[in-house]
Homo-oligomer: 231 residues x 2
DNA sequence: TATATATCATGATATATATCATATATGATA
DNA sequence: TATCATATATGATATATATCATGATATATA
């Protein structure tokens, strides 16, 4: 999907009705004047761990991964963010530097709004401030919940989790193209690449899935959900 | 330690200089008039998963655990909170109900401030709002970081983590009384109770620790730190 | 105090998972 | 197209971890 035509004005932006609601026309204009929208192709890096945090980053379109590079040079994926997710988590309020890197896993449009402006709006528009915090709290809370969900399950439960995550949360369909490699799935749900592949094969043999490379079709949603729930 | 005499006025409260700074005398009085301070004895429950969220909860003194009860009735500890931590995480902004329970693991004083008041202050005092969010963001971010820290390590690294956590973060001393049972340590760092005990014994045999029941003394901090860093 | 109950401790065993080895397929690049 | 790198796949093996069993302490409760 080519997204290059999608760059637009804040006032028309679908997100006006979401994180940036409760703003006056004048305030939206202020954001619009200095905001920067940027297209990142699949695989391109949006920010690096250690970079100074200058902007509030908003994912308009596409899909990105947030990850840390461990001391042994292995990557650990913290979460996958979808449109409507702001992709700075909370570190933007509590840190000077990004505590993880962000990479596009599908062509993505990211909207950058200078942090100063956001902070100023929080100070001057209380209704916006409160609503804004409700929104970003939801994202952080869900990251915590997800980490617990994953780590209290074993391999089959974790794979079930990730399949249901993409089907329900990201693509709203039981058929989808897995946007990440098996290796990245492994980095996301804390297991070895071989075992990701193995369990997927198992699920295929069990007629839970149909797999052709990255294309996955969930054939038995109910049973997959049960595997997830049992852990 | 008996804390019953410690109940006090917001204006004198040590936390005036922390989360509640940037408030006028008039605003502090408003909080003080309706705030409720309550002493919870070790083992007493402060709130239950599913309870309606009515108050912002602030840990003045003591130590508490935040935990979820899984479907198999096992408890999973999300984090240990110490004084200065607000103990509602972010769910207080994004949920109507508590998504976990909180129990005192040491005698604790919790200060309850009606959520309405906090929300009103966020709306009307921008400087407070921004500072407040920086504080609570730090807590949520650190929960996320901790979960990753724990789950990317194996047993010895996890035990090293939790020992260093109590020594550095909670008690600021290499000698301390472990405030939770081995079973609770297991629930906190995702391992079996037997293995918690086993690894602690190993560390004792290796002269890393001296253990007498709950009393633990770290004898070789450097080596423990190395075990933590290696994972 | 006596009795029950939870916690701590350790060995033996079973299970889950990672690692190693090797093969095939897929996609990128010259 | 040929060559190389990377991703997928699967079996064999090693390792990490949980579970089971049993006993000893400690702690709570009648």
């Amino acid at each position: 999907m080519d997204l290059s035509h999608k760059i637009n004005n804040c006032k028309e932006c679908i997100y006006k009705s979401w994180a940036f609601k409760n703003l006056s026309d004048e305030e939206l204009t202020r954001i619009n004047e200095q905001k920067k929208e940027q297209l990142f192709r699949k695989g391109e890096n949006i920010c690096f761990e250690g970079d100074e945090i200058l902007s509030f980053m908003y994912l308009q379109n596409g899909l990105v991964k947030l990850f840390k590079t461990e001391s042994n040079n292995k990557e650990h994926i913290i979460s996958i963010a979808k449109p409507k997710d702001f992709i700075g988590l909370l570190s933007i309020f509590s840190n000077k530097k990004h505590i993880y890197s962000i990479t596009a896993i599908e062509d993505s449009i990211v909207c950058f709004v200078k942090l100063d402006i956001i902070k100023d709006l929080i100070k001057t528009n209380g209704i916006f401030a409160l609503d804004f915090f409700e929104k970003i709290s939801t994202v952080s809370d869900s990251v915590i919940k997800t980490r617990i969900d994953i780590n209290t399950r074993q391999l089959r439960g974790r794979i079930a989790y990730i399949l249901l995550f993409f089907a329900k949360h990201i693509y709203d369909s039981t058929t989808f193209n897995l946007p990440i490699s098996r290796k990245e799935v492994a980095e996301l749900i804390d297991m070895s690449t071989e075992n990701v592949i193995r369990v997927l094969s198992e699920f295929r043999k069990d007629k839970l899935l149909q797999i052709e490379g990255k294309n996955i079709e969930i054939k038995d949603l109910k049973r997959l959900e049960r595997i997830y729930e049992l852990g």
